[in-house]
Symmetry: C2
Amino acid sequence: MGQTACYYFFGKDPTFALATVVPFGLNTRQMNAWLTQAGGEQMLNDFFKSYNVIGWTGGNTTAQMGGWFRKEIKTVEDLKGLKMRIAGLAGDVMSKLGVVPQQIAGGDIYPALEKGTVDAAEWVGPYDDQKLGFVKVAPYYYYPGWWEGNAALHLLVGLDKFNALPKAYQAVLRMAAAETNNWVTAKYDADNPKALRVLIAGGAKLQPFSQQILEASFNAANEVYAGLTAKNETFKKVYESQMAFRKDGVLWDRVAENTYNNFMARQSAANKI
Amino acid sequence: MGQTACYYFFGKDPTFALATVVPFGLNTRQMNAWLTQAGGEQMLNDFFKSYNVIGWTGGNTTAQMGGWFRKEIKTVEDLKGLKMRIAGLAGDVMSKLGVVPQQIAGGDIYPALEKGTVDAAEWVGPYDDQKLGFVKVAPYYYYPGWWEGNAALHLLVGLDKFNALPKAYQAVLRMAAAETNNWVTAKYDADNPKALRVLIAGGAKLQPFSQQILEASFNAANEVYAGLTAKNETFKKVYESQMAFRKDGVLWDRVAENTYNNFMARQSAANKI
């Protein structure tokens, strides 16, 4: 039994990435809804079966930041030749824009940024990033992390062991995953704002990715998906289900939720809240 | 034991409203985070104690719509004298803008709108509104429902009965609330988009509230809060905790989450997803 982000196993099969998040994929609530209401969980467990595990989402670290850069990145041109610590599918998308993706373990990122072995690195968001101290060596802190509009963690259990459990114990595991799902998102939503304040006080220069960079990344992501769906039937099936959900989910988000959040954002910018 | 929106008991004490949502209050994720990570649940249970109940959030129907109007509402002037089915704190805020709030049970809203006994009515969002058929008699469907940026339901249990339960049974109740919390939000996020499509096909005219109306409502809400905090110590304590959380929560939301959602909204508007 373990809790993990399935996209770490992207190398075995890119379908694993769809269990966590893919570039320009679902946001946190859309991911929960797709998993539990639109057949996502069942589809993933059909896929997990060949690895002899079963799982449920158990924690989501929410929309992430775009990472730490030693220099300002204003245009797609600025990305060319940039060495960036970024993994998995996001790395493949970045490659199409000229970035040279680097795979570096969490603990090795700081010295690599300090020495200039890499020019940029993405990790998670303010709460986790603060602990690693990147602000001191790469102060430009970009957003949003378009490769992680959410980040669903999974509680994975050996399928044979799970099937051998009494029904009540199976229910306990599923409920523990559900409770963890609430708790992790709530914790990140409570701790990220505090960490962001500390980071800004410590010199972080918050910068949005330009619309040009976001558009180019979006198009590059679609090219990567075209390649993957052409050669992997399982990926194609799960991807298409997730993207159909995205289409409707974003359409609805544009109405009540996003308009409300945008109004509150304007009130915040005007120091009225 | 029951599941309810505590704001229905607003008449007993306005503090109950803070357990569900107040105008221009938290969004769904902020509410979950305030409840479980920032002392909200504890503060509410201290308050619930005098009613001999204990509770936890168990379901959130998310940001709501602004309701159904027989005519277009463009300015604050258009609200004057408008008879609207709207309850609780939101009704008090609307009063300040000249609206005449009406209390009508769900099943009686349709005939009242049809006869013109009321000019407008708010209910929930597409999924619930569709069932009541308002589109046929009041086609202007406004958003966002600024009085319900989220709508937290509570699982309430008699305190003495809860305390008498074995620890494992207490845990089962709390886990059931957590699982329901995930499930209800996911269900609304999955079903609202479908219902919205049906409503639009059926003639609903989607309209955003103007910035002028939102601003005036925001200011009116603050006047209502000033009155309530001046005369109710418990309300003041819980309100201030919730609003401090709102300030930080929106500040963070403006960075990764909202920027991501806004980009996806633009891609949706451009038919790219």
